[in-house]
């Protein structure tokens, strides 16, 4: 029988993994909002972020939570390069081309990672790995709590960038009307690169947290990325608030499904929900038709 402890632990797992989905979905939404492209290789940036965090922790011996910052910086540079080299030449040609290029990138990133780092799963050990505190009958790991705090800090940071800085204003302007922004003297190409780079940094943070809470391997990226897509489809393309609420709900729902239906249904349930929602409302739950 399922008792209170199991249920609350499942809920906590759901919130922790939900935080990772929030970061992914927000990054995707940011890139979509500004560039109007969907990067299917977003999960590969998550994987890269996880490895960067791992190696910073493993080689430099820094605290894993500090390593997240290093990983975000490295992956944002990689993201900028990917945007310049692969997406910039094809932007505006055909939506299918964007999908095809991201598929190519998935192959490149995944298997380069396998080649360089083998497909052996690794894990990042934090100083708080085994410390928990009790909340009533439930023992909660500090790592989950820190993960939630880190995500909140990153989201606040991103909101500040979007709201207060010049490049943030340029991003918002471009997302509203690319041509008008261009006429106001905004360098749209630079804005594209900046948003892609910021989105990649969010994916890197998600990957690092994923590596800290769970483990990392070269194929880890695909499923969180797909779930992030599901979330932004549910929450509405371009809506950051939708991504945050959707991410949390999704993380919880997924873990509940695993608890009640069994492990093999974990991923399929996600898609089943997605397909049902899209059947009922083809533009997503809160999305506007375009």
């Amino acid at each position: 029988m399922i008792d209170v402890v199991t249920l609350s632990l499942t809920l906590m797992w759901g919130v922790a993994i939900g935080c990772i989905y929030i970061l992914m979905a927000t990054g995707l939404n940011l890139i979509f909002g500004v560039m109007k492209i969907v990067n299917f290789a977003h999960g590969q940036l998550l994987m890269l972020g996880a490895y960067m965090c791992y190696w910073s922790w493993f080689i430099l011996g820094v605290n894993p939570y500090f390593a997240i910052l290093l990983s975000m910086i490295i992956v944002s540079i990689v993201g900028a390069a990917v945007e310049r080299l692969c997406f910039s030449p094809i932007i505006g040609t055909s939506k299918l081309n964007e999908i095809f290029v991201s598929l190519g990138l998935i192959y490149i990133f995944d298997y380069t990672a396998v080649m360089l780092w083998t497909d052996k799963p690794r894990s990042i050990v934090t100083p708080f790995e085994y410390s928990t505190f009790s909340l009533g009958v439930v023992a909660i790991s500090y790592d989950w709590l820190i993960a939630i705090m880190v995500v909140s800090m990153i989201l606040v940071g991103m909101f500040l960038i979007l709201a207060k800085t010049k490049i943030g204003r340029a991003m918002r302007a471009t997302s509203q009307n690319m041509e008008a922004a261009m006429m106001m003297g905004i360098n749209v190409k630079k804005v594209y690169t900046a948003s892609f780079s910021l989105g990649s940094a969010l994916a890197a943070a998600a990957g690092s947290l994923f590596g800290i809470i769970f483990s990392l391997d070269p194929y880890m990226g695909s499923l969180p990325a797909i779930k992030a897509f599901a979330i932004i489809i549910l929450g509405g393309l371009g809506s950051i608030r939708g991504a945050v609420i959707g991410g949390l709900l999704y993380g919880i729902a997924e873990n509940m499904a695993t608890l009640f239906l069994g492990g093999i249904w974990r991923h399929a349930v996600a898609f089943a929900v997605l397909i049902i929602v899209l059947t009922v409302k083809p533009t997503g739950l809160f999305g506007e038709g375009r």
Binding site: I99, G104, F229, I233, F271
Partner: protein
């Protein structure tokens, strides 16, 4: 302009080229190729069939990332029918296609209303669901272990001729569909769905038709594939199987009849040639290849070939 280019029917240049290619293809076994070459040619045939079906869907602007679901459905249906009920093998191939088409119709009902990205996601997810279902039904499908399938034919030469006929007939049907009014509707929808709707084209109906046709032929290809390999497991639903027809069609030329044929010959040759490096580097190479093709040659080899032909005529 050359007048003969305007000629239609059996004597049109296109048709003559097709007949020539078919004749060349049918004399290959007489040259006594090694079993390995024959195997490669059969695979090319299967992939030409599979990619052409995928490409038929792309004619309407719908790029599926989960066609392995239909490939697997066709494969499982057709092989299980033979093993469990002793159905005639050729009938089982058609039934496999029909079951894939039925599922394609159902999933198409959702997909036809979606935009490109959503469609890509849903089809991709559908392949994951199909795999999960097969794993959950392991008392009949034997999940990840898989089971051996019955051979349809005795020798590779027979397989070769069969797939040659099967692929040619399918591609001819696809050609006729694309040349007809239906094909015009497909192109109109691809170019601008809103305008197509404005011209009175029932976009939902045509997109659904493309879905059903595409999944039917994919199911047939799947049935043939598993009977030829002699084995089926959940591996058939892998991402790689879904992306392969996409890579082939993009390389050969999207929305062309010849594209998937050229593509499957080129991609499978490259794939085999890359066997000398390790399998991981092979995957990286195919990724780099796809990215470069999309960026530098978005219209594919078909277009490059046409350009070369035209410049020769000048």
């Amino acid at each position: 302009m050359n007048i003969s280019l305007k000629a239609s029917g059996v004597f049109s240049p296109k048709c003559l080229i097709a007949i020539l290619v078919l004749m060349l293809a049918s004399i290959i076994p007489i040259l006594q190729p090694s079993q390995y070459i024959l195997h490669l040619l059969i695979l090319m045939g299967i992939y030409a069939l599979y990619s052409s079906s995928w490409n038929l869907l792309a004619y309407t602007g719908q790029a599926s990332l989960g066609h392995s679901a239909f490939l697997g459905l066709g494969g499982y249906t057709s092989s299980l029918l033979i093993i469990k009920f002793g159905v005639d093998p050729w009938l089982s191939l058609l039934t496999g296609g029909a079951s894939a088409a039925a599922v394609g119709f159902l999933i198409g009902l959702t997909c036809v209303r979606l935009r490109e990205w959503f469609l890509a996601m849903v089809t991709f997810g559908f392949a994951v669901i199909a795999e999960t279902a097969v794993m959950a039904l392991d008392w009949v499908t034997q999940g990840a272990t898989g089971y051996a399938t019955n051979a349809l034919l005795d020798s590779r030469v027979q397989y070769y001729y069969t797939i040659l006929v099967l692929a040619s007939v399918t591609i001819a049907i696809i050609y006729l569909v694309v040349q007809s009014k239906i094909g015009l509707a497909f192109s109109a929808i691809r170019e601008n769905q809103l305008e197509a709707e404005g011209m009175g084209i029932n976009t939902v109906k045509y997109k659904l038709l493309a879905f059903v046709l595409s999944s039917f032929f994919t199911g047939v290809a799947g049935g043939f594939l598993v009977h030829y390999i002699g084995y089926i497991s959940n591996e058939i639903f892998s991402f790689h199987h879904s992306f392969m027809p996409l890579i082939i069609s993009v390389t050969g030329g999207l929305n062309t009849i010849t594209g998937p044929i050229i593509g499957s010959i080129i991609i499978l040759s490259i794939w085999e040639a890359l066997k000398i490096i390790n399998p991981i580097q092979r995957m990286i190479a195919i990724g780099v290849f796809l990215t470069l093709v999309v960026i530098f040659m978005p219209r594919g080899l078909h277009y490059v070939a046409l350009k070369v032909l035209r410049s020769l005529k000048m």
